[in-house]
């Protein structure tokens, strides 16, 4: 239960990390190369942490 909660929190944070770089890039506060790498890292974290609890949720 506790692991699931942690995974849920981390996966939600990864979604924030996914969209935030593009907002920062739009604001001119981040380079495109960095934006791409952060988005890729957030993608990996999302699938790694969301899959376990979402897989269960979808039966």
């Amino acid at each position: 239960m506790r692991t699931t909660t942690i995974l849920m929190i981390v996966s939600m944070l990864s979604l924030v990390a996914l969209i935030l770089p593009s907002i920062l890039f739009l604001a001119g506060s981040m380079e495109l190369t960095t934006t791409k790498w952060v988005m890729l890292a957030a993608t990996v974290v999302w699938f790694a942490t969301a899959a376990p609890w979402m897989w269960k949720q979808t039966g």
Binding site: L15, L18, I19, P21, S22, I23, F25, L26, G28, L32, T35, K36, W37, M39, L40, A42, T43, W46, F47, A50, A51, M54, W55, T58, G59
Partner: protein, 486 residues
């Protein structure tokens, strides 16, 4: 259990296929929000947005046209599809069988299956463009009709084969992956737009101090209006509005989503389709359009609509993964559904074999870029072909009883082919496609509206004559408007 699974169960011959959904199995509003958001943020959105730009649309026409069209689409779900779904609580196929008879439903399944095949083909095309970024083979241009390189054919073959095998073997796994990917994919689509916007600001040297400046940038650089690319229909506000309204016509006015919304507790749950419309058919289309417009801003001669390179340029590997997953997760259920439609025609055939053959047809179709590059036309045609049966269901449910006629006539009379419904379908298509061929391609985006009234009129008129043959003794209780919970 979510709505996606419910609808899969229905399609795969699961529960409540031939009976109303019982009260205990109804689902809450939240289930429909997630399903619609995921289903309408698909790989093909990455084609449609750029194709609007190629059609020479202006900023006002695309933004306002999409808002109005998407609102009309949601209203169609709420007021046309959902009220019948939550009263009858039957699948479209069973309801059609009761109205039209088994043989006519078989024809409908054939049309449905063929359309699904080509739609899946376009999705395979989208995924295959991602491989081109890695393997650097020549990819199709906007005007290409035929495969233009061996690399392209091999890429489509590889993607199509994998998708077909997975659809045949492990469809449920892909469905779960699609659910997991949905929130991530929506955000990547939004990121495409934000990144593209900044690239435009930098490339044009625009000073942005507020939304007014963004709007000026949109008008002067992204959606400039003017002439469309050669061979394309020029898109105005009306084209965009009708396209946004009718691109899912098969589902709302065409009543395909009866199978999904029959699980809804209330008919207003149809409003959940708004998540799909405004995330997928607004934000995603606009975001993809920005990427394409930026590509042309950098190199006006590069008019290719290739989601893979567009996404890679904006978001790197995350963008490329998005293109593959968006195409893959939406092509899979489409191939699976097409297979089910064909299997309904030949019930004894194995599900694996039918799905594989369907996948092969979709893969062959995907090799011809003409299909994806003409996606706007194809999507309009797809809605048009399936719409008349939606009109038949609508009239049969609401108006036929009020005219003193009997609904579900095929079931009551024991007929296998209700000629009133058959003539409404074929007659409407003949008239609408006749208009398209005679007047011009541009009418394809509009004819479905008068077509709905033509289908309704033919069905009502012919039913009056046809039902004279009705034998009263075969009458049995029917589900009628207002008899069940809304």
């Amino acid at each position: 259990m979510d709505t996606e699974q419910k609808s899969q169960q229905t399609e795969s011959g699961g529960e409540f296929e031939r009976e109303p959904v019982p009260q205990r199995s109804l689902l809450g509003f939240k289930s429909f929000i997630g399903m619609y958001a995921g289903e309408h943020t698909a790989g093909t959105e990455l084609m449609i947005g750029p194709l609007f730009v190629a059609a020479g649309v202006s900023a006002f026409d695309v933004v306002v046209g999409l808002i109005v069209g998407n609102v009309l689409a949601v209203l169609s779900w709420v007021f046309m599809c959902a009220p019948i779904a939550t009263r009858a609580r039957l699948t479209l196929y069973y309801q059609l069988e009761k109205i039209c008879g088994r043989q006519l439903v078989t024809l409908y399944n054939l049309a449905n299956g063929v359309m699904f095949c080509f739609l899946a083909g376009a999705m395979v095309t989208v995924s295959a463009t991602a491989l081109g970024v890695w393997f650097k083979f020549p990819m199709p241009e906007l005007s290409d009709k035929y495969p233009n390189s061996v690399g392209w054919v091999i890429a489509v073959l590889a993607v199509g084969t994998v998708i077909s095998l997975v659809a045949a073997y492990g469809y449920k796994v892909v469905s779960k992956v699609a659910n997991i990917a949905a929130p991530w994919m929506v955000l990547v689509f939004i990121a495409f737009g934000l990144i593209g916007l900044r690239q435009f600001i930098d490339a044009t040297g625009t000073q942005v101090t507020g939304l007014a400046d963004v709007w000026t940038l949109a008008k002067t650089h992204i959606w400039q209006g003017g002439d469309p690319h050669p061979g394309r229909v020029k898109f105005t506000f009306w084209h965009v509005m009708f396209f946004a309204w009718f691109c899912n016509m098969a589902m709302h006015i065409g009543m395909s989503d009866l199978s999904v919304l029959r699980f809804a507790k209330k008919s207003w749950y149809g409003i959940a389709a708004g998540t799909g419309m405004f995330l997928g058919h607004f934000l995603a289309w606009l975001a993809a359009a920005i990427l394409y417009a930026f590509q042309m801003h950098q190199d006006p001669s590069n008019t290719s609509v290739l989601p893979g390179p567009l996404a890679y340029q904006a978001a790197g590997l995350a963008g490329l993964i998005c293109v593959i997953i968006a195409g893959w997760t939406t092509a899979n259920p489409t191939i699976y559904r097409a297979g089910l439609a064909f299997q309904a025609i030949i019930p004894k055939s194995s599900r694996f074999r039918v799905t594989m053959i369907t996948g092969i047809i979709a893969t062959i179709a995907a090799m011809f870029p003409w299909l994806a590059m003409k996606l706007l036309d194809f999507v309009a045609l797809y809605g048009l072909v399936l719409m008349p049966m939606g009109a038949v269901v609508f009239m049969d449910f609401w108006l036929i009883p009020k005219l003193g006629l009997r609904g579900s006539y095929a079931e009551l009379s024991g007929r296998q082919f209700n000629w009133a419904a058959g003539a409404a379908w074929i007659g409407t298509l003949a008239v609408c496609l006749g208009i398209v061929f005679i007047v011009g391609n541009w009418t394809l985006y509009f004819v479905a509206l008068p077509g709905w009234f033509i289908a309704s009129g033919i069905y009502l008129g012919l039913s009056r004559a046809y039902q004279r043959q009705f034998v009263a003794s075969t009458a049995s209780p029917q589900i009628r408007p207002g008899t069940a919970q809304a």
